[in-house]
């Protein structure tokens, strides 16, 4: 199945809506082990993304993703801005000029994005960051494609893996980002960035699903 610009736009729009809806939730997670702004930052960023995407929404996937990255870099600030910004800039660079994207290309773009996040933030797995949601997601998606699964299934597997990775951050002690200042006091809390990353991947999977869409948000308010 080839993914179109319209579908990518749909994903970004859907995710913007979810971020708006989950703003307080993400901010609450960040207040516990950070500075209580992650949801606010992401929402400011994705509202900007919607504005910046409007004039280019008919352009190629690469343009959509790079525009998203630039909008995030220029409006989010904090750790989230450069990290999500880099994620989308790199993913977009990988899909430069394409209006239709193959399954492999799409997952490759996610992988490029993750690579950018790791280069920018230098987080290792289990440092209790968004990397802990993104890394298993990309791995599972690649694995699924390699096993011949359709994209829809690969992305569901990615979202499920991200969810697991997100939950697995709870017992971890943070070693990167603001939560690391807490040392042992960061243990027992779910990482906000891993949570927003999971939501992003679930939104992607739901956007591209041909099945009736899963209720993305109900899984996150518990």
């Amino acid at each position: 199945m080839a993914v179109t610009s319209a579908q990518i736009y749909g994903w970004l729009e859907r995710y913007a809506g979810i971020v708006a809806e989950q703003k307080q939730y993400l901010t609450g997670l960040d207040a516990a082990i950070g500075d209580g702004d992650h949801g606010i930052n992401m929402d400011r960023g994705f509202q900007t993304v919607l504005v910046k995407l409007a004039p280019v929404r008919d352009k190629d996937v690469g343009t959509l993703l790079k525009t998203t990255g630039m909008a995030l870099v220029g409006s989010v600030g904090g750790a989230g801005g450069p990290l999500y910004g880099t994620f989308f800039l790199r993913a977009g660079a990988a899909l430069d000029g394409k209006t239709e994207v193959s399954d492999r290309d799409l997952v490759g773009a996610l992988e490029a994005g993750l690579k950018g996040v790791v280069e920018r933030g230098k987080a290792n797995p289990n440092d209790k960051t968004m990397v802990d949601a993104l890394t298993p997601a990309v791995e599972q998606a690649k694995q699924a494609l390699a096993n011949g699964a359709p994209l829809e299934q690969a992305l569901t597997a990615a979202a499920d893996a991200a969810e697991k990775g997100m939950k697995a951050t709870i017992p971890l002690k943070a070693l990167k980002g603001r939560a690391s200042y807490l040392g042992d006091r960061s243990i027992g809390h779910q990482d906000p960035g891993a949570t927003s990353s999971y939501l992003m991947l679930r939104a992607l999977s739901d956007s591209l699903a041909t099945l009736p869409q899963r209720a993305t948000t109900t899984t996150t308010t518990t």
């Binding site: 609450g28 500075d35 209580g36 904090g78």
Partner: protein
């Protein structure tokens, strides 16, 4: 966990959380038109006569809510530009890139960055952009907060009070004509010789969040707090000013360590909601403690210089001085928040 949207402004003198930073920038521009100018989108506060040909430019920035840091330190003998982010959120690379371009007098620009993941990454991206435009850009990272465990594998210590002292001292050197390498070396020295630790009695309220960042009982305090309402090292029972000052100061002294005979600048900083009379009570206790240790206070600073909105609490910063740092601390400065000899 999801909270209902809070509509109250929670007792702030603002119009809306969204307009607060720009309204305040406009207020600064109106109040200090002789010293600074401001630009919006990207938001930058720039020394009025920047760029100064041949002078190394000093740029800093960080989340808003720490006023007077950094905008209040723009002017002669200190910063050339400051980039205010959203409240408690580091600014974006386009702000620092614009600031860098606006103050580059061909001698290069030093970025003064507090050690927070967000600040560092945004400043890095800005430096990449600025270098792409041909600017020479160095960065110094302040990380003076002894409350945070340092390690190779973590984000390390936060940058707090030393940042203010560094901006003054390095600003003095830049004003005196030091080149980018000299300015960078001096900045690293200041950071290496400074240590800080803070505590809070109450939480602050991020305007957009509209509620206290943390709950704290009437008989408790948070030790080792940062400047964003993030939790500190431990929560303990409220203690007397003398005991609090001794905990903060002794932790700092042991960390560097500061030694008998050292001359220091002692800086007692208010978090924003603590009356000045209390800061002097703390300073008195800090002075008594240091005197007992044979450490001599040769310069001092008491007041609200790196704040955390309306948080009640204080931080103590010590900076070991030598001839060079003393000279540039004493050098003329004229900014909205610090001014002497001019």
């Amino acid at each position: 966990m999801a909270e209902a949207a809070v509509t109250t402004r929670l007792k702030k003198l603002i119009n809306t959380p969204e307009t607060e930073v720009k309204d305040a920038m406009a207020g600064m521009a109106a109040a200090h038109a002789d010293l600074i100018r401001v630009e919006y989108d990207p938001n930058v506060i720039i020394r009025k006569d920047a760029p100064r040909k041949g002078k190394v430019g000093l740029v800093s920035g960080g989340g808003s809510g720490h006023e007077p840091m950094h905008g209040g330190y723009v002017g002669l003998g200190m910063l050339d530009a400051a980039c205010p982010g959203a409240v408690f959120t580091s600014p974006t690379p386009d702000q620092m890139a614009r600031a860098t371009a606006a103050v580059d007098g061909v001698a290069g620009v030093l970025h003064v960055v507090k050690n927070y993941t967000g600040d560092i990454m945004n400043f890095e991206m800005a430096a990449e952009l600025a270098r792409g435009e041909g600017a020479k850009v160095n960065a110094v990272i302040t990380n003076d907060d002894v409350a945070v465990q340092d390690s190779l594998y973590t984000a390390g210590r936060r940058g707090v009070g030393v940042t203010v002292l560094l901006e003054k001292i390095v600003g003095g050197a830049a004003e005196a004509g030091a080149d980018l390498e000299a300015v960078t070396t001096l900045a690293k020295k200041v950071n290496a010789n400074g240590r800080s630790m803070g505590m809070a009695l109450t939480s602050c309220i991020v305007p957009v969040a509209g509620k206290v960042t943390f709950e704290i009982a009437d008989d408790e305090m948070e030790l080792g707090i940062g400047i964003h309402g993030e939790p500190g090292r431990e929560r303990t029972k409220l203690k007397s000013a003398d005991e609090i000052a001794e905990i903060l100061t002794s932790t700092i002294v042991k960390d560097l360590p500061y030694k008998r005979g050292d001359e220091v600048l002692a800086f007692v900083n208010g978090m924003g909601g603590t009356p000045l009379i209390e800061l002097y009570v703390i300073f008195n206790a800090v002075n008594r403690y240091l005197t007992g240790e044979g450490i001599k206070i040769t310069r001092s600073l008491v007041g609200n210089y790196i704040t955390s909105l309306e948080m009640a609490g204080c931080s103590v910063t010590l900076l070991k001085l030598d001839g060079e740092t003393t000279k540039f601390w004493d050098a003329p400065v004229h900014t909205p928040a610090l001014r002497w000899k001019v």
